[in-house]
Every structure is written in C-alpha cells, then in structure tokens.
C-alpha cells in the first residue's frame, strides 16, 4: 500500500511557514524496497550519518534512495529523529523513547537493523538498550523463548559451558 508521509508541524498557521522554499531545506527519502516516499526537513534527516555524509559531500539530490529499509521502519525512524531534533529536554525524550519502543520484537529488530545501516547512533542505542532490557535477568530458557533462539547444543556441551564459566546454580 503506497503511503505518503509528510512529517511537518501541523500548526503552521502563517503563510511564510508553509512556503516550502523558505529557509528550511527539505529532502525526500525514498525507500527503494517498497517505493515509499518521505518528505522531511534536512535537519532531521541528517541525524543519520549516512545521509549526513551524502548531503555534505554534495551527492544528495532532492530525492535520496534508501535501500534495505522498509517503509514502515522508515516512518518510525523519521518520527524518532524528528522528536529528537526538536526536543532537548532529557526527561521528555526518555518518556517518548519508552512509548516509542513499545513494539514487538520483529519491529524492534527491523528498527535495529535499519538504524545500524543508516548509522543513527541515538536510535541504535535506544533500541539495543530496549532489547537488552527484555532479556536482562532472565534465565537462558526464557531468553531463548523471547528471542526465538534454537537450542542446538547438547546437554553435555551446556553442562561443560556451565562448569567452565563458573555458574553457581542450576538453570
């Protein structure tokens, strides 16, 4: 389903703010996998190191193709970047992040891979922290279930590992 996402301040009342050729620069990011387009302010897009380098090197035209990132992940990423560009209050950002990352593991995985690819450190740190929180303090059995890891070790291998790595109780 082709969607248009234009992320901008909805309360633009005055004419000069609406004029797209004003002092704010706009970029169109196009995800090449599913051909979705996103129009964002340059100041938001350059939170991605990859895009920042492209812009600085002057090889970014008005439409930037973004491979490997799916449309819905891109939308979420832009939402994140926009909030982080505009808000400087740490507490507000923390609350926003907590709400924002309230996603299933699949979506988190997509976000993580995309943020890694686009080199958005802030987002990557937030998502990896969230995944870590999901498995923190859990037993290996629980972690396997949460992350859907198949156990391909034999019982002896597990026991050996346990002994070597100084476990002090059965799991």
């Amino acid at each position: 389903m082709k969607k248009l996402k234009f992320i901008g301040n909805p309360l633009l009342q005055s004419r000069e703010k609406i004029n797209m050729s004003s002092d704010k620069k706009w970029l169109t990011l196009k995800t090449t996998e599913d051909n979705e387009e996103f129009v964002v302010e340059e100041s938001v897009a350059i939170m991605s190191n990859v895009i920042k380098n492209m812009v600085e090197d002057g090889c970014a035209s008005s439409v930037i193709p973004v491979p490997r990132v799916k449309g819905n992940a891109m939308g979420k990423i832009i939402e994140f970047c926009k909030k982080h560009t505009e808000e400087s209050d740490e507490k507000v950002l923390k609350e926003f992040d907590a709400e924002f990352l309230n996603l299933g593991p699949d979506a988190l995985y997509d976000l993580m891979v995309s943020a890694n690819f686009l080199e958005i450190k802030v987002l990557l740190d937030s998502v990896t922290t969230k995944v870590a929180d999901m498995i923190k303090g859990k037993s290996s059995e629980e972690i396997r279930n949460i992350l859907k890891i198949e156990n391909d070790l034999s019982a002896e291998e597990i026991e050996e590992s346990r002994r070597e790595n100084c476990w002090t109780r059965q799991e």
């Binding site: 309360l11 439409v63 923190k136 070597e164």
Partner: protein, 549 residues
C-alpha cells in the same frame, strides 16, 4: 548426531506470548544480526549475564569472548556470589576472553573489599588492552590511596574514579601521570575521606580535558591562574568554589549542585564568556542576588528545595541569546530578551511539596504573581501542579492583574490536568495578552501521516486533465499517494507546472488550477471537484490529520 529435542516450554509467568518473535518461519532473527549489534545488546547486560549467553546456542557460545565491554557492577540478587566466587569469575573472564579484542569500557564496582593487588591487576589488564573508558568504584572500602600514575594510559578517554587518590607524590615530578587522550575526568570523593582540593597538576597535565566532574572535591585554589583551554563542561557537586575567580573562557556548560555559592558569584559568572548552559541547584536560599552576565547563555536552570522562604532571590540575566528558562522554586528572573521560547516553572519539587504545610505553601503563593509578571516574554509556558494550585489559591488577585504574557503561544499543563478544567479567571490571566495563545496538555506532536486519509479515499476527479502545481513545486516531487489521489480517476490526467498552450482545435480541456489565483478562475462549466477547495488545499493535503488537542 541427532538433533536434541526442543525443550519443553513450561509456562512461566514472565513468558508473554507477545514477546515472541512471531516469524512464521520460526527463524531466529536475532542471531543473524551482525556481531557488533549483538555485542552492543550484551554490553548492557553486565559481563555476568553476557557470559551466561554462552549456553543459548552454538552461535552464542563464544559470542561473549569478543565483547569489548567488561562490566562487573551489577550484582543481581538471583546469583549472590561469594567473595572468592567473584574473584574466580573475573579471573576466568579475563583469561578466556579473546585476547586480541581490546577493552573499550571497563566498569568495576567493589561490592566487597577486594585485595588491592587484585584491583591493580584489573587496572593493568585494561590498560594493556587499550581501554578507553574506565570506571572504578571502591565505594566506602578503605584502601591505601592509589597513585595517579597507576592510571597512565595512552588510550584512556574517560576516567571515573571513586577511590582514594594520592596526588602528592606522583605529581611532584612531571609526567608521572600521562593521559594524553583523556577527555573526561570524573572524581568522586570516597565517603570516609574529607573534602580536599584537587591538585593543580591534575589539570595542568591533562591538556585535552573537555569535561571535568568533581563530587566532594574542590577545585584547586590556584584555579584563577590555571589555563584549561579545552574545558567545555564543568560539573561540581557538594563542594565550595575557590576563593579566586576561575579562568574558563571556553566553558560551554556549567552545572553546580549543592555547591556553596560565594558572595562574588557574579564574578564567577562573568568569567564564563562562552557558556551556553547553566544549571544550578541548591538547598535553602542563596543570600545574594545574581547578575548573570554571560552573553552566550541559552539555557538556564535554577532549582532549589527550600522549605521556607525568607528572602526572594533576584536574578538578572544579561544575555540576548537566552531561550530556555527552567525554574524550580520562587525566583525573580529578569531577562531582556524579546521572547523566551520555553519557560518552565515549578514551585517545588513534587515530593516535598506534598508534605508541606498549608502555611508553608501559602508563603510561596504570595510570590507567584510577581514571579510570573517577570516572565512576560515567554512563548511556551509549562506549569506544574503546584503552580496551578497556587494560581487558583490567589485567583482573587489574578482577576485584578492584566496578563503579563505578550508573546505567549502555548501554556502546557502538567500531567493529569484537562484544558477544560481551567477556570475563566486563570484563562484570562494566562491567555489575555495574546489572542492566539492556547492551553494544551501536550505540546504539538510532530508526526502526521496523511495515509489514513488520502490512501483510503478514491480519486474524486473523473474528468481531470491537468493539475497545475503552485510555483516552486516540481512534478517529480509529488509522491505516489498524492499522485494516485489526484490522477487515479483518469488515466490521461497529468500533473504540470505550467498549463499547456491552447491549440486552435479547441479540444475540450478541463483543468484544475490549484493556485486559486483570482485572476485565473477554473475554466470549466462543470464543477470538477466533489467539494470546494480551500485556499491552501495543496499544503493542507500534506498537513492533514488529527489535532493533538
């Protein structure tokens, strides 16, 4: 070798089916992530749990050995280690990790008093492995002071220590403490030691230091004659400022927390010619008025947690660049800027406020109106519940005072308050000075998806031939959804930036002129649209959707 059978999934209370990766192939997506990402996730878990992941699967068996982050600081209650158990574990980790992998970050919290040699061995290991960030907390355990030369390293960038330190001996002769790469130094005085002055050599021999954080430790007395050209951030807690004013021309950010503020505080401020952020917290009231003449100051935050006002603190901010002001407590802040983008006023720290007596609260309430009258240049005003309560208590006086706010755009209410719950008097006081101001519960959201609307609506244009865009827009800039909405009803329709010339043949052309230029009315006898286009339709198509209010 036969595959081991899948372990039985015995129901456990924590297991939430929503947490499972619902990939229909049953694929283990996480394990296919690159190593560095898995390492980043593991780095948040503490080395103990990271090592435990070795029994998750074959791929994970040696994953922890390449982890550059070592952190022995979170001792979880589930696995109470014995004293010797921890030592054995740490030794095991250091021996078995991949020796070629450097240590980027090493955190060590001494839950027990470890033998000093053990601690030294850890420090040496990390330095040998090019550690960049070192955090050692020996808490309250008494150790013989560590010489600073113990921490000499070419690669160390961030050093945080809560250990007894020996300054004198190693620093009397030069270059015993070599930290050429150090950018951030954070020293915390161990609880059993009394406050002391940082040795000036600490600063002299750290030419690249950008961040200095001292907790319970004073700056050197000779601070006024020490040059720290790169220092951009200074954080001081629970100490006194030196007698002589510092020389910090490059400082960008200052934070003072529970610092004894001297009478000549104004001189300390004026020495900070580049500072952009200042945060000051103190308890009780500061006895002196301030003139903060920092010409580059952008953010100012002042907090106090006094319980009894005996004196109103007046602060004059002489900076044209001031944009954000955050206050906790009663302060008269005067600034000359035309517009303060964000002003946040809290009367009190919430917890303490709830415990205050009515009398104590009453004392504060009297000063709320004078305080707000100084903040008339606010553009966004954020209030907390205590302020709202205060304003209601003094609403008789509110009615008699004109609104001081000339540039107000938004008043943000604290959590739990409704815009409709605001009384007319309060509304008039807050919004009276500016007709376009509004009271909100959350500042405007920024994400708008139009897909809900455009994507679901079929194109209403059956006879459309041309859509003419306003000046400055390119046809290629039109997204697929908008294109579908506009042109979907007619395959021969096109988006143009200028209307084609009319040929003699008088083809029947119907075009839609979106500019709504009064000089060029739509040349059609039939209504082309299903509904009348507002003037800014083009922009509105992008800017649609739910209002956050």
């Amino acid at each position: 070798m036969s595959k081991p059978s899948r372990p039985l999934k015995i129901g456990a209370p924590e297991m939430n089916s929503k947490l499972k990766i619902t990939n229909p192939n049953g694929e283990d997506r996480l394990s296919s992530l690159p190593d560095e990402l898995i390492h980043q996730i593991l780095s948040f878990l503490g080395t103990r749990q990271a090592v435990q992941t070795s029994i998750l699967s074959k791929r994970w068996k040696r994953m922890w050995t390449g982890l550059p982050v070592l952190s022995f600081d979170g001792y979880d209650q589930l696995f109470p280690y014995t004293h010797s158990g921890i030592i054995r574990f740490i030794d095991h980790v250091l021996e078995n990790r991949d020796q070629d992998t450097h240590v980027s970050c090493f955190k060590f919290l001494a839950v027990y008093p470890f033998p000093p040699n053990f601690v030294r061995r850890l420090i040496n290991y990390t330095i040998d492995h090019n550690v960049e960030e070192l955090d050692i907390d020996l808490q309250f355990h008494r150790y013989k002071p560590f010489k600073l030369s113990t921490f000499s390293s070419d690669t160390l960038k961030k050093l945080k220590l809560r250990v007894p330190l020996d300054y004198d001996e190693s620093l009397r002769t030069d270059s015993e403490w070599v930290l050429p790469a150090l950018k951030a130094l954070h020293l915390i005085r161990p609880p059993h030691m009394s406050s002391y002055n940082l040795s000036e050599y600490c600063l002299i021999w750290l030419p690249n230091l950008t961040t200095l954080s001292l907790d319970g430790i004073r700056l050197p007395e000779s601070m006024s004659s020490i040059s720290v050209p790169c220092l951009t951030t200074l954080i001081m807690k629970r100490a006194k400022l030196p007698e002589n004013v510092w020389d910090l021309p490059a400082l960008l950010s200052l934070e003072l927390d529970e610092v004894d503020l001297p009478a000549n505080m104004n001189d300390f401020f004026s020495a900070l010619v580049s500072v952009r952020d200042i945060t000051i917290s103190f308890s009780g009231s500061c006895k002196h008025n301030w003139i903060i003449s920092c010409p580059q100051l952008v953010h100012l935050k002042i907090c106090t947690n006094f319980s009894c006002i005996c004196w109103i603190h007046e602060i004059a901010v002489l900076s044209n660049k001031l944009r954000e002001l955050s206050l906790v407590g009663i302060f008269m802040v005067r600034s000359k800027v035309h517009e303060l983008e964000n002003v946040s006023v809290k009367l009190w720290d919430t917890n303490e406020f709830n415990d205050a007596t009515l009398d104590e609260k009453g004392l504060h309430y009297d000063f709320v109106i004078p305080m707000l009258s100084e903040l008339g240049n606010a553009r966004t005003l954020t209030l907390d519940s205590a302020m709202i309560e205060a304003l209601y208590t003094v609403s008789n006086s509110l009615g008699r005072v004109p609104s001081p706010f000339k540039n107000l755009k938004y008043v943000k209410l604290p959590q739990g308050n409704k815009e409709s719950g605001i009384s007319t008097t309060l509304r008039k006081y807050l919004l009276g000075g500016n007709p376009r101001a509004t009271i909100v519960t959350s500042l405007p959201q920024v994400l708008y998806t139009v897909s809900n609307h455009l994507g679901r609506v079929p194109s209403p244009f059956k006879n459309l031939k041309y859509v003419k865009l306003p000046q400055g827009n390119k046809e290629s800039g039109i997204s697929t959804t908008l294109r579908k909405y506009l042109l979907g009803g007619n395959p021969r329709a096109t988006i143009v930036t200028s209307l084609p010339q009319y040929s003699r043949k008088k083809k029947e052309k119907k075009h839609l002129n979106k500019q709504q230029d009064p000089d060029r009315p739509a040349r059609t006898s039939q209504p082309l649209l299903t509904h009348k286009l507002p003037l800014r339709l083009y922009i509105n198509l992008y800017n649609m959707s739910h209002s956050p209010f």
